[in-house]
């Protein structure tokens, strides 16, 4: 392959942007790719042009603007609005951008593609008006749109509070915050959150303001099902759960609302490393496959790194520091800085990373999907929303002898739709493993291109039949 640059970085969130800038600082020629119109990733997403922000600016907005400014001042070659749709060993990144298909080639690739959101299914989670917590954040942050006048917020993890608070700030009404975790589980995170007093204080502030505003905060509860109610509203049934997440007998309350935002945590977006067939390990707590990495974020494949949420959820602050660490290692491997210099810088970064990671991981633990909750998914609940596959259908495939998520997929179409299992794959795999009495599924679902659905017309372009380059015909 003929390299077009020294390093390709995929994802311009904090992890990817910092990795790219660190490499560039040491004289490497870096191409940074993101499908979004600007750098920032999930937390520091830029507000699209034409949208006016109201009220006081969030700290994230400052950090994001600073990141974008530093990036603009660096020698990193940014390619935004550009999707990585496939990648080949060695490495060739196949892209689709504003000017059509193209590719970049380099011996070193940093994957910093972030996380995807999961929802542990219940009957009704696929109704219009029910959206993910992360989806709600994106709507609120970058499109400045409310999901509905009155919203119920449910699931697990810090996004609950963030979404509820942002909804109210944007003028919406929060009907309740339904948290799978108990108050004690939140308190147990305090030692780790002490490492980020700013965020701890903000979290406490969020909680007390929501409580003061009279928003019902229900701990150790979950949505059991949602039904369509009169006048386009949704009726959510909320009841208590055990620590495992399994429902327990008790009062079931009804909430009639315009919208429901629900999420059960984030998992690494492993589609790129699965496509390249790097080694992965199963995280039994997060119930997700994570690329196998050494301490410098190297995968099992030479020249391939994964950093940020894609390497395991540890939050935006850790992602930024780890991004720099990766950049530093790459520069060192390329002989761009002395061993002493490298070690000194790495030490400083590692200390910061440890602190940041403690916070991020405590939050990740809080939002990990719980076994009892997965086991209790109702038979008629849709697991794969693209293909409308229910839990009962998945169980039937296992009963028919499927022993891997790939076979379950083949026999049910679970994970064959446009999201390619990004939403349902982990849950379906966990269900299959549990049905087979195994702690972990035998292998991840096979990764394939395209990493996102590609407009066929754009990819194929307009052709003149006579100009088509055709291979030789098949034998008679």
């Amino acid at each position: 392959m003929a390299a077009t640059c020294d390093v390709i970085v995929v994802g311009a969130g904090p992890a990817g942007a910092e990795a790219a800038m660190e490499c560039a600082r040491h004289g490497l020629d870096v191409v940074l790719i993101d499908e979004a119109p600007d750098a920032g990733g999930q937390v520091y997403r830029a507000t699209p042009k034409g949208f006016r922000t109201q009220g006081p600016r969030e700290p994230e907005a400052e950090i994001g603007d600073d990141l974008r400014k530093r990036l603009a001042d660096s020698s990193v070659r940014c390619r935004f609005d550009t999707l990585l749709w496939s990648i080949a060993p060695g490495y060739r990144a196949d892209l689709l951008g504003p000017d059509g298909p193209s590719s970049e080639e380099a011996p070193i690739v940093v994957i910093a593609n972030g996380a995807r959101e999961r929802v542990v299914p219940f009957p009704g989670w696929t109704l219009p008006g029910v959206i993910g917590l992360a989806g709600a954040t994106v709507m609120l942050k970058s499109q400045k749109v409310l999901p509905g006048r009155q919203t119920l917020v449910a699931g697990a993890g810090p996004l609950l509070l963030a979404v509820a608070t942002t909804l109210r700030k944007a003028g919406g009404e929060v009907a309740g915050v339904i948290d799978l975790a108990s108050r004690r589980e939140w308190l147990a995170t305090v030692p780790a959150t002490i490492s980020r007093p700013d965020l701890l204080a903000r979290g406490i502030g969020w909680t007390s303001r929501l409580t003061l505003a009279g928003v019902p905060m229900r701990y150790r509860q979950a949505i059991r099902r949602i039904e369509q109610a009169e006048a386009g509203k949704l009726r959510a049934f909320v009841g208590p759960v055990y620590a495992t997440g399994a429902p327990v007998a008790g009062t079931v309350r009804e909430f009639v609302v315009d919208a429901v935002a629900v999420g059960n945590g984030l998992a690494p977006a492993s589609e790129v490393t699965r496509l390249l067939r790097a080694e992965h390990v199963y995280d039994t707590v997060q119930k997700a496959w994570v690329p196998q990495l050494d301490e410098d974020f190297r995968t099992s494949l030479p020249g391939l790194f994964v950093v940020g949420d894609g390497a395991g959820i540890s939050g935006a602050a850790a992602a930024a520091i780890d991004g720099r660490r990766v950049g530093l290692s790459i520069a060192f491997d390329a002989d761009r800085l002395s061993a002493d210099n490298y070690r000194a810088q790495k030490r400083t970064l590692s200390t910061g990373a440890k602190k940041a990671r403690r916070f991020g991981q405590a939050m990740a633990r809080l939002m990990a999907p719980r076994s009892g909750q997965i086991a209790a998914i109702a038979a008629d609940a849709v697991v794969c929303r693209c293909e409308d596959v229910t839990r009962a259908e998945l169980d039937a495939a296992v009963a028919d002898g499927a022993t891997s998520p790939n076979q379950v997929k083949a026999w049910t179409r679970c994970g064959m739709g446009p999201c390619q299992g990004r939403t349902c794959g982990d849950i379906a795999s966990a269900l299959a493993a549990a049905a087979l009495g195994q702690e972990a599924p035998p292998a991840p679902m096979t990764g394939r291109s395209p990493l996102r659905p590609l407009p066929l017309g754009v990819l194929a372009g307009d052709i003149d039949y006579d100009d088509l380059e055709l291979p030789p015909p098949a034998p008679l």
Partner: protein, 378 residues
């Protein structure tokens, strides 16, 4: 497996070929084991395009494919499950003079073997399927075409096999074959050896290393076929569509997805499987597809995958006794092999059961190389 109770037959490779042989032997009362290193029908037989076309079948195999097609359409009756087999008309289109010549020659060769293929005008073709690009200059038309959803194959066979009492040994990679006390001994990685009176090798592209276990050198070429599936879309076509040179196979399933194939190649091999899509080949394939069915420009490509197809030196199958080895058989390397598998498997089962097969088999002797150097081909 206890030493005292050998099986009547062990079939290695649980693709459609091996599974069909196992099913017929078990239904005739034999005690059989179907052994695979992975799960049932996860290789070629579970990931293929499922086209039941006669336009593309090697002319010599047309009579077999016609039988196989009928069997797929009747799957609920003999296999016990609907695997999504549907009958549809089929076309092979010509857009240039050169292609017209090709279409005529191919149609003629296949018609001579019994395929009801005729040439039709663009107008007639577009009456049958209004989704076609009217700029063609002619088309070969065949009433007998159709498609199956290949990913259901393993589920159907597994249920049917279990109902017969056959043993299905999945996730059991065979590593070597031995002969002891007049029995075949099948060595399995991580498991006890299996003993059987009869042995059937049904390993698809892996037939070359399998035959090497018996000391036989038979080169088997591995094709890395690329398939592309779109998102669900409105009905845009109702026939199975190919073009003269065979580089396109196109159909829309009931769920609205369109499957695009035609033997465009990706990178990979027998050891690593399908490794990477070649973008040039992906783009070439879908350009051709969009040319044939212009409405495809509206949809999105959802997934591209690679499957491994086998081919012998003369591109004809290996089905029959393995020379020099008692009670050992081979089946595989059949062009359009998914279409004919239910029939080919039955023919070999008949031979094993001592019945005269309805149509001739394809003895592997012609393909065995005398050269003693056992290095495997790529």
């Amino acid at each position: 497996m206890s030493k005292s109770l050998p099986l009547d037959a062990a079939i290695i490779g649980a693709g459609a070929m091996g599974a069909t042989v196992a099913l017929h032997l078990a239904r005739s009362g034999m005690r059989v084991a179907l052994i695979d290193r992975g799960e049932i029908c996860r290789e070629a037989s579970g990931v293929n395009a499922g086209t039941l076309t006669l336009h593309m079948t090697r002319a010599a195999l047309v009579p077999y494919a016609m039988k196989g097609r009928e069997l797929w359409l009747n799957a609920p009756n003999w296999l016990g499950m609907d695997v999504g087999a549907r009958s549809a008309p089929g076309f092979s289109l010509a857009f240039t003079r050169e292609e017209l010549e090709m279409v005529e020659k191919r149609a003629e060769a296949r018609a001579a073997m019994g395929a009801p293929i005729e040439l039709v005008t663009p107008k007639r073709a577009c009456e049958i399927d209004p989704g076609l690009n009217p700029s063609m200059i002619a088309a070969a038309f065949c009433e007998l075409d159709g498609h199956v959803t290949a990913y259901m194959t393993g589920r159907a066979y597994r249920r049917a096999l279990l109902a017969t009492g056959a043993m299905i040994m999945e996730n059991s990679p065979v590593t070597a074959l031995d002969r002891e006390d007049g029995l075949h001994v099948i060595r399995i990685d991580g498991g006890a050896p299996v003993r059987a009176k009869r042995l059937v090798l049904a390993g698809g592209v892996w037939l070359e290393p399998m035959l090497a276990w018996l000391g036989l050198k038979v080169p088997v070429k591995t094709l890395i076929n690329q398939l592309v599936v779109t998102e669900r879309m409105r009905p845009v076509m109702r026939s199975v569509v190919g073009i003269a040179n065979g580089l396109l196979s196109l159909k829309q399933f009931e769920n609205g997805t369109v499957l695009i194939g035609g033997g465009w190649q990706g990178n990979g091999d027998r050891v690593r499987g399908g490794v990477e899509t070649i973008p040039k080949n992906l783009i070439g394939n879908i350009q051709l597809a969009r040319h044939a069915i212009p409405a495809l420009g509206e949809t999105r490509v959802n997934r591209v995958w690679l499957g491994l197809e086998s081919e012998t030196a003369d591109a004809l199958p290996m089905i029959g006794e393995i020379p020099g080895h008692e009670e050992a058989y081979v089946i595989g390397c059949v062009h359009s092999g998914y279409t004919s598998a239910p029939y080919m498997g039955r023919l070999l089962a008949d031979r094993i059961l001592g019945r005269e097969p309805e149509m001739p088999l394809f003895g592997p002797a012609r393909l065995i190389q005398k050269d003693k150097n056992m290095e495997l081909s790529a």
